[in-house]
């Protein structure tokens, strides 16, 4: 399972970084989202990977760490708000700058 999770995180980061380096706002936002997914998964894995264990200390002999789950929840909420904000901002930039390039570049497109 470790290998699977590590592979998933790596794939998400790779796709996220690739998209973040694109020149237009929409791919950049998608890249940011993928990257934040990878971050959340990573944070989740920081509490060690366990299946079928309750996140309660006194429940059984064996338990899964509840703190990273709480952290991930917070991070997801904050990430959601930030994504909403950046989408609105990108739309506004498209309207005001007349281009969806991240550098707000020229209106003329190179073919």
């Amino acid at each position: 399972m470790e290998a699977l999770v590590a592979f998933a995180i790596g794939l998400l980061v790779a796709c996220g970084v690739y998209l973040m380096l694109r020149a237009r706002t929409f791919p950049v936002i998608i890249g940011l989202v993928l990257f934040s997914y990878a971050t959340n998964l990573f944070l989740f894995a920081a509490g060690r990977l366990k299946t079928d264990e309750p996140p309660l200390i006194y429940a059984t002999q064996s338990y899964t760490d509840p703190l990273p789950q709480a952290l991930v929840l917070t991070a997801i909420v904050i990430g959601f708000a930030m994504t909403a904000f950046v989408v609105v901002l990108a739309l506004r930039a498209r309207g005001e700058l007349g281009s969806d390039r991240v550098d707000g570049g020229e209106r003329e497109e190179e073919r």
Partner: protein, 510 residues
């Protein structure tokens, strides 16, 4: 009974939170009412911050357990000399920025005052928290408020700068989370005092992970502080922001510097075992490079606001050069310099706006037009420039001198001296040229001269520089005491981990 003064600790977080929420609900109220609410809250905040600074003068580290959960399990606020100093600085800067904003800038949108208060909430929280994840949350609060403030007033230039600022900081936030995850995975805690304890007894195989986490944190804080390879967002963002917002942002880079001091003296401090001094090889070179780049930026700027933004980069570099020495003398010099540079750059941003309003060509450094009221403005510019360059008799000299003297016994002394002194000379050239072009050449502008009321906040912030010299003795003592406390993390750790909950103090009462 509950010891009552400790509740003061939560007020710098609670007051802006409640005020901001109130302003958000009543965003359609008359502007006068909103200004009054915001102003009263800012004054109150300044008074509380000063009271906290006086409380911290007894060298004790005060802990406020939120929800009465014992450390390291609950989240908590910690007040020591360093956080109290930062709180006072923030509150004073906010007061003057607000005094300038209420004269015009806040009428462009309904939520300026609410965002302003949330910005203060994030700043104060970041200075007070004793928990790494909480630091992340407060960073997000102050960033989200700053996104809104940066875009306040609208316009293509702000939108473009805002987009870069937001995207870069979102990436930074993800890295902060990764760093927190790395540290948690090897220590099992995010309480900074507990992290410091765990770090001392870390098994050898976990050391690389902890080191990676620590260095990632350095990169994240470096982004906030606009250190060399991570500074690209700053000139655009600060140059485009409305003047009172830019003035308030003068403290934002210092949040990064504060976080570097806090984490790398406490968690990776002298007693951190094998990871002690993790940031040392990086901090000084990067800081000196930032000074060089900021100076070149000042020379190359064709706009007064952009130039002030590059001054911020150069001054953050100087600040971190002092911190990077990681000695008591270096840190105390850096703390003095921090107070000076925050207030003066804040004043210069306000001044740049006054100049821009008094000319039809805005803040561009061209000889086409002299700003209205050039007499007063040029005197203020002269004072601000002298303070930033570090010319006698103003406070920049003392700050830079303290850092230079602190570097004397260090191996890197020739680098520190060379870079800071050459940078000062270059700043002298750049700022004189800008001053001559702006104030001495070209015909006077037909615009109306700024009223005395508008001049006041800028004059007060820049005028703080001579005051910092006059009260230099007490202030350097304060800086030295603060540096001494910061570099002895044991006190902090003991205070946090030994903090008694109210339930224990009262003795099982419900």
């Amino acid at each position: 009974m509950i010891p009552s003064p400790d509740h003061l600790l939560v007020l710098p977080v609670a007051i802006p939170l409640l005020t901001g929420a109130l302003l958000l609900i009543f965003a359609r109220w008359p502007l006068v009412v909103r200004r009054a609410i915001s102003g009263v809250a800012a004054v109150l905040l300044a008074l509380i911050a000063i009271q906290l600074l006086m409380m911290s003068g007894d060298d004790a580290v005060r802990v406020y357990l939120l929800g009465d959960w014992a450390a390291p399990f609950g989240i908590l606020l910690v007040l020591d000399r360093l956080s109290a100093l930062m709180l006072v600085l923030t509150a004073l800067l906010a007061l003057f920025a607000l005094a300038y904003a209420v004269q015009e800038a806040d009428s462009d949108g309904h939520n300026f005052h609410a965002l302003f208060q949330f910005q203060l909430l994030g700043l104060n929280g970041a200075f007070l928290t004793g928990d790494l994840f909480n630091l992340f949350v407060f960073f997000e609060i102050l960033l989200l408020a700053s996104y809104g403030l940066l875009l306040h007033g609208g316009g293509a230039e702000r939108t473009r700068a805002g987009l870069h600022y937001v995207v870069l900081n979102l990436i930074g936030s993800s890295f902060f989370l990764i760093a927190a995850g790395l540290l948690y995975s090897v220590t099992g805690t995010l309480n900074m005092a507990d992290l410091a304890v765990q770090m001392r007894a870390l098994p050898a195989e976990d050391l690389p992970i902890a080191a990676a986490g620590g260095l990632l944190l350095l990169a994240v804080f470096g982004l906030k502080a606009a250190l060399l390879p991570l500074h690209f967002w700053l000139p655009h963002a600060y140059g485009a922001a409305a003047a009172p917002v830019a003035a308030l942002f003068a403290i934002m880079t210092k949040v990064g510097a504060y976080a570097i001091v806090r984490v790398f003296t406490l968690v990776f401090g002298v007693e951190a075992g094998p990871l002690a001094g993790l940031a040392d090889p990086w901090l000084l070179p990067v800081a000196l490079a930032s000074i060089a780049l900021g100076t070149i930026g000042v020379l190359a700027s064709d706009d007064l606001r952009r130039m002030t933004a590059y001054l911020v980069i150069a001054s953050v570099g100087t600040l971190l050069a002092g911190i990077g020495l990681m000695t008591e003398a270096g840190l105390s010099g850096a703390l003095y310099y921090l107070v000076h540079t925050t207030l003066v750059t804040g004043g210069l941003f306000l001044l740049a706006d006054l100049v821009a309003n008094g000319r039809r060509v805005g803040a561009r450094i061209t000889p086409r037009e002299r700003p209205a009221g050039a007499g007063v403005l040029s005197v203020l510019f002269l004072l601000g420039a002298m303070a930033m360059i570090g010319m006698p008799p103003l406070s920049g000299l003392i700050g830079k001198l303290l850092i230079l003297l602190a570097a004397l016994p260090e191996p890197a002394v020739q680098w520190v001296w060379t870079v800071i002194l050459i940078s000062s000379a270059m700043l002298l050239i750049g700022l004189s040229r800008a001053g001559i072009t702006l104030f001495w050449r070209g015909p006077p502008s037909p615009q109306a001269a700024p009223s005395a009321l508008r001049l006041l906040p800028a004059a007060a912030l820049i005028g703080s520089s001579p005051l910092l010299v006059i009260f230099g003795g007490p202030l350097t003592d304060l800086a030295a005491a603060t540096a001494g406390q910061v570099l002895n993390p044991d006190r902090y750790v003991e205070a946090v981990l030994g903090a008694a909950t109210v339930r224990e103090t009262v003795g099982g009462a419900p």
